[in-house]
């Protein structure tokens, strides 16, 4: 690790100020991602601002604003707490399933909701500093594009970067149209819809998100919805737990009789951000919830996929996973 200073912030205002003053400073939440990256010399902050004692951990019903009646989840709360909170389990079981599909019990006990959103890619070329990686070192090239890219993107990648974003939680948040609340030095809060929070790599793969330096994630808001009875998070991976997704699908349906009123589908493990399967969703609205329609929707979404040398299987797997997640949503429901 490179030498760094460590400050334990007392409140959000001073934490934000300390960070904003130093372009090389970073917030430290659970540390489960940042510290690993520092040990490998990938992240090189010269100052850590520990935000673990700021509070901002509550989970409560939103009482005003656009998401009134929805749920507010503290940005600094632990993943384990969020996954198991009764309001989450009852009203947003998709989120419970997605969080519990990630990492391990020990990691989730440390990991925070804000830190989870900002976890960085698991691309092995990003992780090893002797390898080329435009995300880590702008202009050094992409090791994965012509290299070992079985785990990499099939949607939205660029010549600069083919990495995928690893969070499971965020895939459910994308399906649930979450809003990320952030606070900056001015003390003002700004709301970023989840769809605009993470970015595609384009020419700036070093930028994972549209969060600005100095902004603190204070909470995540979930709008009210009627998906709680019909949702499912499917994660396909190389082993049963403690592995990142090859492909994952968060599926949520609202039905009247067998007719689909609303559909939400987001995919993980396929792009540089949670991939909202809008084409598939559009195909489903107004249709009957049948296997044949699920398949048509999956075909429509996967038709745009552009695989790399080692990840061609993700097209077929993605297709089947969309269908299965929708089937399971119809069958299983609550977490």
């Amino acid at each position: 690790m490179r030498p760094f200073t460590y400050t334990r912030a007392k409140d959000a205002t001073s934490a934000i100020k300390l960070l904003a003053e130093n372009p090389n400073a970073k917030f430290l939440a659970g540390g489960t991602n940042l510290l690993d990256l520092m040990k490998e010399d990938v992240e090189r902050p010269n100052a850590l601002i520990d935000i673990s004692e700021l509070g901002l951990t509550d989970i409560k019903t939103v009482t005003s604003g656009a998401n009134k009646g929805g749920l507010s989840i503290g940005g600094l709360g632990k993943n384990t707490y969020a996954a198991n909170h009764p309001l989450v389990r009852q009203n947003y079981p998709l989120l419970t399933q997605a969080i519990l599909a990630g990492a391990s019990g020990q990691l989730r006990n440390m990991a925070t909701n804000g830190g989870n959103l900002l976890q960085r890619t698991r691309c092995p070329y990003f992780y090893e500093v002797s390898m080329p990686c435009n995300k880590r070192q702008s202009g050094s090239g992409c090791g994965a594009k012509e290299g070992i890219n079985r785990m990499h993107a099939i949607f939205g990648w660029s010549e600069q970067c083919v990495a995928v974003y690893p969070s499971d939680m965020a895939v459910a948040l994308a399906a649930l149209d979450a809003v990320i609340k952030v606070r900056s030095t001015s003390g003002q809060e700004r709301s970023i819809p989840i769809a605009e929070f993470h970015r595609l790599p384009g020419d700036q793969p070093e930028k994972d998100t549209n969060l600005l330096h100095g902004e603190l994630i204070t909470s995540i808001e979930l709008p009210q919805n009627r998906f709680a009875d019909k949702s499912y998070y499917l994660k396909v991976r190389d082993r049963a737990s403690y592995a990142f997704a090859l492909v994952s699908v968060a599926a949520a349906l609202e039905t009247q009789g067998n007719k689909i009123v609303q559909a939400r589908i987001a995919m993980g493990g396929v792009a540089h951000k949670p991939w909202r399967a809008l084409k598939a969703e559009q195909m489903l609205v107004g249709k009957d919830a049948t296997d044949a329609n699920f398949k048509l929707a999956a075909d429509a979404e996967m038709a745009d996929a552009k695989p790399l040398e080692h990840n061609k299987f993700k097209i077929e797997l993605g297709n089947r996973s969309i269908v299965l997640a929708l089937q399971m949503a119809m069958k299983v429901g609550k977490a």
Partner: protein, 708 residues
């Protein structure tokens, strides 16, 4: 005080268990030394070429740094001293990516690691040979005589005449041992002598290799290794890090702690190599094998050779008039491969036992009956009688216990919801040897209370060696186990075989038993009395009113052992469920039936077997070390990428031991279980997947994408 009941064969818990779970057991880095400095290795970032320059000026000025050692200032070491894998900083030549090129020593580990990142290395690069697929056709005959072509009869003719045959290629990837305790050493010099606290599967081997490399006499080096946090072969032969810890300690004139990081483990301490195995089988229509060929192509290091004996099982498992076992190997710019659990047999049995299963389908025969039909009466490779052979018993008892009759002969006949269910079976074997081992037994009496201390430079890998030797000594001396202390893992103790190749239990337990027999005999002679009922050593200490008595034995295998072919045998049964949509596979149930002679402790033995089974499941489904084919670096460098099975991957595990008494193998009738536990496992899982889905995958690991 009356004699205690026998404890051999009873499932007593590990005597070192409490020390381990409470953190009292000292592993390599835990030994207290005064004022240690910390060293870290730094490594090449090219796979082939020559170091042009190493600029360490900034590192040397970094906080806490005590020294930087590279090929430019390292002391002369003997590269042929017996440490494996080279990388001793003796030249600027680079032979693989991640080769050690220097050491930084500092006051703290963090300072050392930080400074190592300030070092700037330039290279004259060469095109590396790192893509096995590109160079496999350059493979040549190994230098190792054991790997010469073994030909019996005429396989080609038999194959060409056969109506039923299988000719397929089976691939197993590079794997790493990844013991939970990474390789680490503390080096502490005292004048010209050095103590190395470092976990070693072969204590005396580590001592002689470290000594020869450091240009010292063996007695100038002491290895202290009371506990080992796993080794699986990677701590059998020792690697450069052991000697480099001593070099660093000398350089800074202080004790030095040198541990590898998890990421460094992939190119520091060996690996299991990628094996490409072609297996050809031919049989008559009633299922009699007429030919078996097992041809392995693999890779080794640029300047050193190691080839896994993948054809070993094929040499002895089945009776066939025509047999061919060959090896070809190509040097590559990758670290030297080495022994890895069930060396050759685990990977080789995957190929052989998959092919047997494939042929059984073609013959429309039950694969168990097919195997039994080709059971050899004697060892086909040398004509010797078996000391005992339990393959048929393992298969029959296993089939009954597992409910094999529920297996469908045709694939895709068994479904449960969205899952295909399948059953698979395999058979396996591993040789049983006893190696020369010495042991010292010391008896002490205090009133009626007799206690014993047993000492030998044996290794406990975490497998239960302390426990079984305590049992062996207690029974042989007539003492309760709490009166017996066993000391292991120190080269100052009487020399012992290594905990490798499944020779540990047989070598150590027989040596301890011999020592206890000898001490009893000596005490009887000393008493000058005639005995009608043989007294125990404990009774003799009391009757002869002795306070202290000790004896040492240099134990060897019985000469008659050479007349027999001695092996452990097993049969493995797997039930898998394959998700029809996603291809995710789960092993619902696994049963291993093992014939390994006398089982000293069924509890530690079961742990050994299911541990091997779990790794075998990992071999079948999850484990793979992936090399970038352009640059030769491993892209799977942590447990996030190198997937060992998690708890959730493992269903119900069951282990059954065949009750047998092998009269020929050694005095106690003990055969090894450490290696055989992984042999055949991958094949049983793969065969079950094939039975479930109708899909035959010949390329491990079987990740979901391969069964879609």
């Amino acid at each position: 005080m009356k004699d205690t009941n026998k404890t051999i064969g009873t499932p007593i818990s590990r005597i070192d268990g409490i020390a381990k779970v409470t953190g009292k057991a000292a592993y390599s880095m835990d030994h207290p030394v005064k004022n240690p400095a910390y060293a870290i290795l730094f490594k090449s970032t090219v796979a082939a070429g020559t170091i042009r320059d190493i600029d360490s000026a900034a590192a040397e000025k970094a906080p806490g740094v005590l020294g930087v050692i590279t090929h430019k200032n390292v002391s002369k070491l003997n590269v042929k001293g017996g440490l494996r894998g080279g990388a001793l900083l003796q030249s600027p030549e680079i032979e693989f990516y991640g080769q050690n090129i220097g050491i930084v020593v500092a006051e703290t580990f963090e300072q050392a690691r930080y400074a190592s990142r300030l070092i700037n290395v330039t290279y004259d690069k060469k095109e590396p040979k790192v893509d096995f697929n590109k160079v496999a056709d350059q493979a040549r005959l190994p230098k190792d005589k054991e790997k010469a072509d073994a030909i019996r009869g005429d396989v080609q003719t038999a194959l060409s005449q056969a109506t039923h045959k299988v000719e397929e290629v089976y691939e197993t990837p590079i794997e790493h041992h990844h013991p939970l305790e990474p390789h680490a050493a503390i080096a502490e010099w005292n004048g010209d002598n050095v103590t190395l606290y470092s976990s070693a599967q072969i204590v005396n081997g580590a001592q002689s290799a470290a000594a020869a490399t450091l240009n010292l006499k063996p007695e100038q080096v002491r290895i202290v290794s009371p506990y080992i946090g796993g080794g699986f072969g990677s701590k059998g032969g020792q690697w450069a890090n052991l000697a480099l810890a001593a070099v660093a300690a000398k350089h800074v004139n202080r004790p030095v702690k040198l541990a590898l990081t998890r990421q460094q483990m992939v190119n520091s301490v060996g690996m299991r190599q990628h094996n490409r195995q072609k297996v050809s089988l031919a049989a008559t229509s009633d299922g009699k094998l007429t030919a078996l060929a097992h041809e392995t192509t693999t890779h080794c290091a640029i300047n050193d050779e190691f080839v896994e004996p993948c054809g070993d099982c094929s040499k002895i498992m089945y009776d066939t008039p025509n047999s061919l076992i060959t090896y070809r190997v190509v040097p590559m710019n990758l670290i030297l491969p080495t022994y890895t659990r069930g060396p050759g047999k685990s990977t080789g049995s995957f190929a052989l036992e998959s092919a047997i299963d494939e042929l059984a389908y073609k013959l429309k025969m039950d694969p168990i009956e097919f195997r039994i039909k080709n059971e050899p009466e004697r060892d086909p490779s040398n004509g010797k009688p078996w000391s005992s052979r339990t393959t048929v018993q393992c298969l029959r008892e296993g089939a009954k216990a597992f409910g094999w009759e529920k297996r469908k002969l045709e694939p895709r006949q068994n479904e449960r919801g969205n899952y295909w269910i399948g059953y698979g079976v395999s058979a396996g074997t591993y040789p049983a040897h006893q190696r020369p081992t010495s042991a010292l037994v010391k008896l002490k009496r205090n009133g009626e209370d007799v206690t014993a201390t047993v000492e030998l430079a044996a290794a406990d890998l975490g497998t239960g060696t302390y426990t079984i030797l305590t049992q062996t000594a207690a029974d042989a001396l007539g003492l309760p186990i709490q009166n017996v202390t066993v000391n292991l893992g120190d080269s100052n103790l009487p020399p012992a075989a290594g905990a490798v190749g499944s020779v540990g239990a047989a070598s150590y337990a027989n040596a301890v038993n011999d020592a206890c027999e000898k001490i009893t005999q000596e005490l009887m002679t000393k008493s000058g009395k005639q005995y009608y009922v043989r007294p125990t050593a404990a009774q003799l200490m009391r009757s002869e009113k002795l306070i202290d008595y000790q004896t040492r034995v240099d134990s060897k295998p019985p000469e008659s052992a050479e007349e027999y072919s001695a092996h452990s045998f097993n049969a493995n049964f797997a039930e898998v469920a394959v998700n029809k949509s996603t291809g995710m596979i789960r092993v619902n149930r696994f049963l291993a039936v093992t014939g390994a002679g006398q089982i000293l402790n069924p509890k530690t033995a079961r742990s050994q077997i299911i541990g091997g089974n779990v790794w075998g499941i990992g071999m079948a489904l999850t484990e793979e070390s992936v090399v970038d084919p352009r640059w030769g670096n491993f892209v799977t460098r942590s447990f996030a990428d190198y997937h060992v099975p998690s708890n959730l991957d493992i269903g119900t595990m069951e282990a059954i031991f065949i009750k047998e008494k092998d009269e020929h193998v050694n005095t106690l009738g003990v055969k090894g279980i450490g290696e055989v536990g992984i042999v055949g496992v991958a094949a049983a899982v793969v065969n079950a997947i094939s039975n479930a889905t109708g899909k035959r995958v010949r390329d491990l690991p079987i990740t979901p994408d391969k069964v879609l």
